[in-house]
């Protein structure tokens, strides 16, 4: 029983922790893309990578963090413009393939030897978070209640992360209430009708891509600050699929879906992993079936299964409305 409580506490810890905050931010951006605008963006990790690397390069060059963060967001906006200017005329499934391809192009470029002087190649850039942790108001120690405790560094990342997540959520909420958001929704529902009314659909979709991308860049930067390093292996396409699962779990096209989805996502993953680990160590799960070395793979199996199950039985996630999500389903 005690083991079970420990697993539960660990899962809860992860569900509130820095990673969950970063995924919440990323999902807010993706939700603007897919949930509200209907853009099949499968290269969200590209925005995270561009944001994190730009910030890391700027900070590594000796400039302060408050220059690095806006620079990272600006880079994401530029990427959004490039992507938007070229791909938004394409049909949805083409956009999916293009965005995933662009994500990979960016990852291959940042890890290439040709750019090693700038990006650090396969080794990435270390020590990018000195400025960030210098601002930490919490004195060293462990904070928290019951068995859910965090170090002062984690707590600082969490406070900043969840604050940004909340601000981004409010921003999207405000945007979607504004006339801009109503046109975006109209384009999502019937692009031809919106264009017939004189709305520049491509421009508006590009704006959505840029804003969501800049939010995604913030998520990438938060992850980089938490690890105080960037390296190309953090930006594999799987990262995008995790963000997708977070968004769909919470409910695409809902305001609170992204933040709630991130908490639920990490809780489910970590709780399931914890249970399996306990099962293995106590001999309930036999060795031939699963060993602790293979646990790395299990996380991806769970995410994949979650994605399949949600899309089949509950595409609206926990908080979404089915009709809204089924727009565009032919």
């Amino acid at each position: 029983m005690d083991d079970l409580i420990r697993v539960f506490a660990d899962a809860l810890r992860g569900a509130l922790g820095p990673d969950a905050a970063a995924f919440a931010i990323a999902a807010v951006g993706l939700n603007l893309h897919f949930g509200f605008t209907g853009l099949l963006n499968f290269g969200h990790v590209a925005f995270m990578a561009v944001g994190a690397y730009t910030m890391a390069i700027v900070v590594d060059a000796g400039l302060p963090l408050w220059v690095g963060v806006p620079a990272g967001m600006l880079a994401a906006v530029v990427l959004g413009l490039l992507l938007g200017g070229t791909t938004l005329r394409l049909r949805a499934d083409y956009l999916a393939i293009t965005t995933i391809a662009v994500g990979e192009i960016i990852r291959i470029m940042i890890r290439s030897r040709a750019l090693e002087d700038v990006t650090g190649g396969v080794f990435g850039i270390q020590g990018v978070a000195a400025d960030f942790f210098a601002l930490n108001p919490f004195s060293p120690g462990n904070y928290g209640i019951w068995r859910v405790t965090f170090s002062e560094r984690q707590l600082w990342v969490m406070v900043v992360g969840w604050t940004i997540a909340l601000l981004c959520t409010l921003l999207v909420w405000a945007l979607m209430r504004a006339p801009w958001g109503r046109v975006i929704k109209a384009i999502h529902e019937d692009e031809d009708a919106a264009r017939a009314l004189g709305k520049n659909a491509i421009l508006l979709k590009a704006q959505s891509l840029c804003i969501g991308g800049a939010i995604g860049a913030l998520a990438g930067m938060l992850l980089a600050l938490e690890r105080s390093a960037v390296d190309p292996n953090q930006y594999l396409p799987q990262q995008t699929f995790f963000v997708w699962t977070v968004m769909i779990l919470g409910g695409a096209a809902t305001i609170k879906g992204a933040m709630a989805g991130a908490v639920m996502f990490w809780f489910i993953i970590l709780f399931a992993e914890g249970l399996l680990r306990e099962g293995i160590s106590q001999g309930i799960i036999p060795d031939w079936l699963l060993t602790s070395q293979q646990m790395f793979a299990v996380r991806f199996v769970i995410v994949g299964a979650m994605l399949i199950g949600l899309m089949i039985w509950r595409p609206q996630g926990v908080f979404g409305r089915r009709e809204e999500v089924m727009i565009g389903a032919r």
Binding site: D93, A101, R111, Q238, L307
Partner: protein, 444 residues
């Protein structure tokens, strides 16, 4: 057919330009990062802790027979190893801690050198109970004594071979899209399935005795075809009938790919392994092209299969039915075609082609759990280049992508190969989104 002519012209122009432009000079700048897949390499565990690695050149071919010495930091000898035929070496380390690993560059095969000639000794930290990895960066094979024409014709032949292998995968992907409207992100896993099943069968698995690779490959193709059919019957068919929509099906295929790929990781493991047959072969030259016998056979078999499928699409009842369904499903249904059966046959044929392609990738490179993920984007590039949903376009696109990726290594580092395939994809979408053979000749 003007687009075919245009493509041919493009290829010819590229070749001519290659011969005229001074290209070979960039050879010394060409360097790939051999620890590209460092995290996937796991040397066999020996004893409590060990240090080991994989010696591979930039073509991902193993470098064997290289002597490696391991010492403690103070210079006391720990052990020696020689890289085996797969390029693997491992030395048991009695005490955890920092060790110094020296590679004997005298034992490197001819034409192979370290990327960084003065980094012959590395000092990794060996953790208790763990199999540590250390990687020596092998430099570009020197091409001294190989003429530019020879290199280019070899790269072209290699590119053609890879192109045919990609086409095998892309054809199934495109056919399935044509018939069901599904952009299947899990298609790469079918190739990996074929490769891994063939690997297991070759060594003997469960009730199956060890068998030659040719027989194992035939079984693998059958199993992959069945596996693929199962996806339609068990997952995508029901999803379509629920009217969840194409986008939902696309996301489901991503989830499916994640699940299946990581099940391979659980059951096959993270190692990179090779088939027993056709491992070390010396090249056979035909004209200016010298390739190993396995490459020649790959080219012949893949060409025959692709031509056969292309012929069958035009000249058999089921092929005609497939093309009819992909052009207009409702019209096909109302003219008496059993759409459900045609759909399943399409999946099965696509699976069989993917299984064959997977075995070829296993022979040409290695068998890995995530090989499907590596090949998927190249399949997409091929499919988009040729036109999504067109069968002949997928073949053409596959060959073009193979040529582009291989020929790009003449000027650029091999680590950028995939990037060029993806750039082709993006540029094609910008210039001609319907692809080379799109719209007018949908699916044949």
């Amino acid at each position: 057919m003007s687009s075919v002519a245009a493509l041919l012209a493009l290829v010819v122009v590229t070749l001519v330009a290659t011969l005229i432009l001074p290209g070979g000079v960039s050879a010394q700048e060409v360097d790939l990062d051999p620890d590209a897949d460092a995290e996937e390499i796991e040397p066999p565990a020996v004893g409590d802790q060990s240090i080991g690695g994989l010696l591979q050149d930039q073509e991902e071919l193993p470098v064997s027979g290289v002597a490696i010495t391991v010492e403690t930091e103070d210079g006391d000898p720990i052990g020696e190893a020689v890289s085996d035929e797969n390029g693997l070496w491992v030395v048991e380390v009695p005490e955890p801690g920092r060790v110094s690993v020296t590679i004997d560059i005298e034992t490197l095969p001819e034409g192979v050198s370290l990327q960084n000639a003065d980094r012959t000794t590395l000092t990794p930290n060996v953790r208790a109970g763990q199999a540590g990895t250390v990687l020596f960066a092998i430099g570009e094979r020197s091409f001294e004594g190989v003429s530019r024409v020879e290199r280019l014709s070899n790269l072209t032949a290699e590119g053609f071979k890879f192109g045919l292998m990609i086409a095998l995968g892309a054809l199934g992907l495109s056919m399935v899209y044509g018939v069901t409207g599904l952009v299947n992100f899990a298609h790469g896993e079918l190739l990996a399935f074929g490769a891994i099943v063939a690997f297991w069968l070759e060594r003997g698995y469960g009730p199956f005795p060890a068998m030659p690779l040719v027989v194992a490959a035939l079984f693998a193709i059958v199993f992959t075809a069945a596996f693929s059919g199962l996806w339609e019957v068990g997952v995508f068919g029901p999803v379509r009938r629920r009217r969840s929509g194409d986008i939902a099906a696309l996301v489901i295929s991503i989830g499916l790919a994640l699940v299946i790929r990581h099940l391979y990781l659980v059951f096959y493991g993270s190692r990179r392994d090779f088939y027993l047959d056709y491992r070390l072969q010396s090249s056979i030259s035909i004209g200016p092209v010298s390739l190993t016998p396995k490459s020649w056979i790959t080219i012949v078999v893949a060409t025959v299969v692709l031509v056969a499928v292309g012929w069958a699409l035009k000249n058999t009842r089921i092929g005609t039915a497939m093309r009819a369904v992909s052009v207009n499903k409702d019209l096909a249904e109302s003219s008496g075609i059993d759409v459900r059966r045609v759909t399943i046959v399409t999946w099965v044929v696509g699976g069989a082609l993917a299984g064959l392609g997977g075995v070829f990738f296993g022979i040409a490179e290695s068998v890995r759990w995530n090989m499907g993920d590596h090949v998927l984007l190249m399949l997409f590039a091929a499919v988009i280049l040729g036109g999504l949903g067109t069968a002949y376009g997928a073949m053409l696109g596959g060959i073009a992508v193979g040529l582009v990726t291989q020929l790009s290594t003449y000027w650029f580092p091999a680590e950028l190969k995939l990037m060029f395939a993806l750039l082709v994809l993006v540029v094609m979408l910008l210039v001609k989104p319907q692809g080379l053979l799109g719209v007018r000749e949908r699916f044949g």
